[in-house]
Amino acid sequence: MTGAASTNATNAGQLLALYEQMAVIRRTEKAAHDLFLAGLVKGTTHLASGHEAIAVGASAALRDDDYVFATYRGHHHALARGATPEECLAELMSRATGLCKAKGGSMHLTKASHNMLGSYAIVGAHLPMAVGAAWSARLRGTGQIAVAFFGDGATNIGAFHEALNLAAVWKLPVLFVCENNLYMEYTPIGDVTAVANPAADRAPAYGIPGEIVDGNDVVLVQEAVARLADRARAGDGPSLLEAQTYRHFGHSRTDPATYRPAEEVERWLKHDPLDLARGRLAELGVPEEAVTEADARATDLVQQAVEAAKQAPAADPREALTDVWADGGAAWRT
């Protein structure tokens, strides 16, 4: 454990800030859910409620200029890396003020100005991109690292294996973080994977460290990511972190998740990342009132974001024909 990480993790003020970020994410996703039911969000959403500690813990351990690549289940990563609830909700609500001018939607939240370089809806596709970003960071000598967050299902995709090997042979500063929530869409990962820990157990095949962490404990995630990030920055190459977690909702909007045993759901709901952080805050002597205030700030922020997004103008149809090319246009012929 690095000094920096352990100091951060046990620092009450810092932990309270992480808690508040998680509370903002939880509420933003709740708002997305409600807005969907109200008919204000189209398409689908893949909520990450239950996964907040991974995005927030990892972000706290990273440099602001490190690169992050996420999946269609990426609201939490966009928010943890600096996108505001307002721009995210506006994106979901097809508003002109949306994070991606309403061209991305829930599955493609991206905040490039903060080096959050996208959410990709093709399972596993972004792992090689993170390898490329890490290569680029090394060539430019910036000391940045790249992090790819992905699901357990992605560990059976070819791109996962190609990316791990390439990163390992090139000793690149990249961190692969698997959010193992036990299920792909509807199928338990264990039913279709030959090893018990779909990510960590594969690491030895590539000669890189594979670690398992309680992905619902923001402190443990922060410590693990800080350590592996240090390693990457020191030139010791990539590593694979399997963060065990659970999604509170079904896979996507249409999935009631009835395939999950009731006692399993109950057990995991009791292991909620926000509750765990609250417990740690109490242990550190943080008064309950400070936590309540953080909750209230989160509620206000998201409430305002919902209102602002509702007021925002609808996406401009003319935008449909921009941004294909670097000149801003879409012309394919002379």
Binding site: G98, P128, M129, G132, E162, N165, V324, G328
Partner: protein, 326 residues
């Protein structure tokens, strides 16, 4: 400067010129380093620029193109090699779903200035899985620029334009042209993407060709000249941007159009080109348009069979003859 250069040498020369000029230009691919590439199209790069900038990869097409994308998004100008264009299918996700869409779906936040180079096409008897002309695959995807030079000087000029482009470019090098020779490119030679070349002027019929079909069309034009049919030959050079202006301009003169395509007729670029002509240049035509394209079969191995499938000068001559008699 030598007075001739081969197409294959032009590839390495084109890349080297850009690597000398811009330290953010890097290469990656299988066997491209010390080995100089399976087609010897990267000879000398590793020696001059070292293994940090000319990286040998494992056989991992997804990782090659995916890593190129990540590098391009973060300040580099990568040039990725996919050995045979048939293998683009192994990383098709990146060409179809990732690279061409990321700028658009992020609302313009992300730029992907990369080049994917690949050896395309038939004529060398490599059989069905190493001989396809696949530029049409890329042509179906909005968001990719597509270059397919036919001469060594164009290879260098278009390589410069492709590497400097802030947009992703798929760069098709034709296997059947690697050994061909041509005048070298002057220093700072740039051929902007999307500018077709009129490589032979004529008054009676316009032949539009790409890459390996340019010399076929030129040969056909010489033979037609003996019959007093004066063919204009256009080397399209790029599929995106597509230079429809030059084609329509030529038709205003000749009023007859034949496309000469190595790819199968089904789904070929000629289909798009003639649809533009039908939309916007119908009044210019004095005869139906004709497409000479490959048969819709996987490419066979034997020379005699391959010749049966891919357009030849004979087939072009026959088609043009019929058309001029119309």
């Amino acid at each position: 400067m030598a007075d001739v250069i081969t197409y294959r040498e032009a590839v390495a020369e084109g890349i080297a010129r850009e690597m000398r000029r811009d330290p953010s230009v890097v290469c990656l691919g299988e066997d491209i380093g010390a080995a100089g590439g399976v087609f010897k199209t990267t000879v000398g790069l590793h020696k001059e620029f070292g293994s940090e900038r000319v990286w040998d990869t494992p056989i991992s097409e997804q990782a090659i193109v995916g890593a190129a994308m990540g590098a391009a998004m973060t300040g580099m100008r990568p040039v990725a090699e996919i050995m045979f264009s048939d293998f683009l299918a192994c990383c098709w996700d990146y060409l179809a779903n990732e690279i061409p869409k990321v700028r658009y779906m992020t609302g313009g936040q992300v730029t992907v200035p990369l080049v994917v180079r690949t050896a395309n096409g038939g004529g060398l008897g490599f059989g069905a899985q190493h001989s396809q002309a696949t530029e049409n695959w890329a042509f179906t995807v909005p968001g990719l620029k597509i270059a397919a030079p036919a001469t060594p000087a164009d290879v260098i000029g278009m390589m410069a334009a492709a590497i400097r482009s802030d947009d992703p470019v798929v760069f098709f090098e034709h296997k059947g042209l690697f050994a061909t020779k041509g005048p070298p490119a002057p220093p700072d030679h740039i051929v902007e993407l999307g500018q077709a070349a009129v490589v032979r002027e004529g008054a009676d019929v316009t032949l539009v060709a790409l890459a390996s079909m340019v010399p076929v069309a030129l040969t056909a034009a010489e033979r037609l000249a003996e019959e007093d049919i004066d063919a204009e030959v256009i080397d399209l050079r790029c599929l995106v941007p597509l230079d429809t202006r030059t084609v329509l301009g030529s038709l205003a003169k000749t009023s007859r159009l034949v496309t000469v395509e190595e790819n199968p007729y089904q789904g070929g670029w000629g289909g798009t080109l003639v649809s533009v002509v039908a939309d916007e240049g119908f009044g210019l035509l004095d005869a139906p348009v004709r497409r000479v394209a490959a048969e819709c079969v996987p490419l066979p191995f034997a020379d005699a069979l391959e010749e049966q499938v891919i357009p030849t000068a004979d087939k072009v001559v026959t088609t043009v003859r019929q058309l001029t008699a119309y």
